[in-house]
Symmetry: none
Subunit: 354 residues, 2 copies
């Protein structure tokens, strides 16, 4: 068991059985509410239930899985379940699941009776390394991702690699994209280590997850409200979000991390053109990532649609498209404003990788 202490709350990395009971013993609460979806109810809840104290009211709140349910209607469901169960301001909510459960469960807790305490127990590799730091909570609204929400820290986060045991290799690989990203933006030696190792060996590896969390902690603590350096975390996401949005309408949608993998390759190429990323780093990133994800090529006829999606990104100003670029593998530079034809070229670069 390792403890990563943030300014306001701890992240426990390791067997939840060694950490959750102690925390629940230390804080007092009137009732426990565990938010799950149909997957985490089956696969993760059995690991948690035996750790909860007897003699305290316990209620399981189940919502359907999937980003499509991360909306205000599901929030209303959650709030209603809390009200019906008589939850008071001393209630404690445990959010057991991936990014949707964490973002939406946290938002519901932060707004129920003007805020009850909550604990995050991320159930995917993506949410373990990405969503467990930063206090960003919220839901999708009006077709805009995360447009309604608040910043609020959890009481604690429990990152237990055992929660990942039932995930498919594809899902784990998708989450691993954020681990690659953290190394690329801020930790050159970690990038070299990843490059020379077998990726699968990291997918459920507490040490790798912990290291990645440390990188993100440093970035977020330097800029909690995303006014500057925290934007480095957007590396791979300008192109990646566009590819993800487009692919959601196809027969073979990409997972978030797969789309970010495409984005990292394209934005590494842009970094070579605009930010001095060495040729060797570009080659390493492009070929290693492309091979690992076995990424399908993008149809050339959708390039204009992808550019249009990037143009609508809220980070842009003055007609150019905002990207985080790399000066080297391990050093990001924020606020790179990129011309559209260069972005087009980066998509061609990705497509011609062999």
């Amino acid at each position: 068991m390792e403890i990563l202490d943030l300014e306001d709350y701890p992240i426990y990395v390791g067997d939840i059985g060694e950490s959750l009971p102690a925390l629940l013993d230390k804080v007092s609460f009137s009732a426990l509410f565990v938010l799950v979806d149909e997957n985490t109810r089956r696969h993760c809840l059995p690991r948690v239930l035996p750790l909860l104290p007897a003699g305290i009211p316990l209620e399981i709140l189940e919502i359907p899985s999937g980003e499509i349910h991360k909306n205000i209607a599901t929030c209303q469901n959650i709030w209603e379940m809390l009200l019906r169960a008589g939850a008071d301001r001393q209630a404690l909510m445990l959010n057991l699941g991936g990014g949707v459960i964490g973002d939406m469960g946290g938002f519901c807790a932060a707004t129920f009776k003007r805020g009850i305490r909550f604990v995050q127990m991320p159930g995917t590799l993506l949410s373990q390394v990405d969503a467990s730091i930063g206090g960003k909570l919220g839901i999708d609204f009006g077709e805009v991702k995360n447009s309604i929400g608040v910043f609020q820290n959890p009481l604690a986060v429990f990152v237990d690699p055992a929660f990942l045991d039932t995930l498919s290799e594809r899902e784990l690989r998708s989450g691993f994209a954020e681990i690659i990203k953290h190394a690329l933006i801020a930790d050159g030696p970690q990038w070299q280590m990843l490059l020379q190792s077998e990726p699968k060996s990291h997918f459920k590896n507490a040490a790798t997850i912990l290291h990645s969390l440390r990188i993100k902690r440093a970035v977020v603590q330097a800029d909690p409200y995303e006014k500057g350096i925290r934007k480095a975390l957007n590396f791979g996401h300008t192109v990646g979000h566009a590819v993800e949005s487009w692919s959601l309408g196809t027969d073979a949608p990409l997972l978030h991390g797969e789309a970010v993998a495409v984005g990292m390759i394209c934005e590494a190429w842009l970094s070579r053109q605009l930010a001095g990323l060495p040729e060797q780093d570009l080659n390493d990133i492009a070929h290693w990532v492309d091979r690992m994800y076995a990424l399908p090529k993008l149809p050339v006829e959708v390039f204009p649609e992808l550019i249009a999606l990037m143009r609508n990104d809220k980070k842009n100003t003055g007609g150019k498209i905002n990207c985080t670029l790399l000066e080297s593998a391990g050093q990001a530079r924020i606020d790179g404003f990129v011309e559209e034809d260069l972005l087009l070229e980066s998509l061609h670069f990705f497509n011609h990788l062999t």
Copy 2:
């Protein structure tokens, strides 16, 4: 113009023309959104519009007036209007109206894109003396008042008695209930002064409003997150909220302050039983308040419903019903946990007042 400086933001009491332009000149923002209802659009907006800077995008957001609209559906309307107008995180929202506009507009601002700045311009006596301090924001949900919300401070509050000029005497009297409450929980001499004066003389009186704001400031600053003494402000509200919720479904709904007046009488009676409130104080409070508000009796058959509503109050912990009681007129005691049959008796006491 008087300025009441809170820890995090100022309250300007007096002519808004002397204070708003200077503030808007000092902060920078990308667009202005003024939230109004049909009443404040007609009666208050004309006083504000000439004070807003030229050359900055300005949008008037209108919602229907009334507590019945203080719900998640109206929030969705407001969020949609903000999204459609292209509001970004540098937008500034001006909430021009009573408690509904302030609570709900503030909540929408605090949750839009994880929080934009907002200014409160309370348009009723109630919201001027009550809602302008404390950072409590929210909406009614699942038939429970203010059950969804957050704590978030505004950039500033503008309390201008001129906004009260078009209010009915009934509305002013309702707001005056909070002025009475502030005196009862923390300022005995002020209570005696009020008791011996003509209530109407205080309804639009800047000095009385300012005095009441000073009492509330002292209480809130001592306990910003309502863990202790701030609960004193709930005096009259445990019973009052239940009466208000119930009455909203009747043909003759009470105004908030009228329901709180009922609550103060019932809770004064409980204070006599449980907290040593002197007989004389109980008599003064019960008869003076009952006479001033000419309150209708409560149908005995709804008493069980009222008790059930109190049971759902967010101030409760572990199933008991929490009331703030008075040790004397001017001295509150928090966390009185009251049995349900005593609460029933207090409703009978109110009904039998002559």
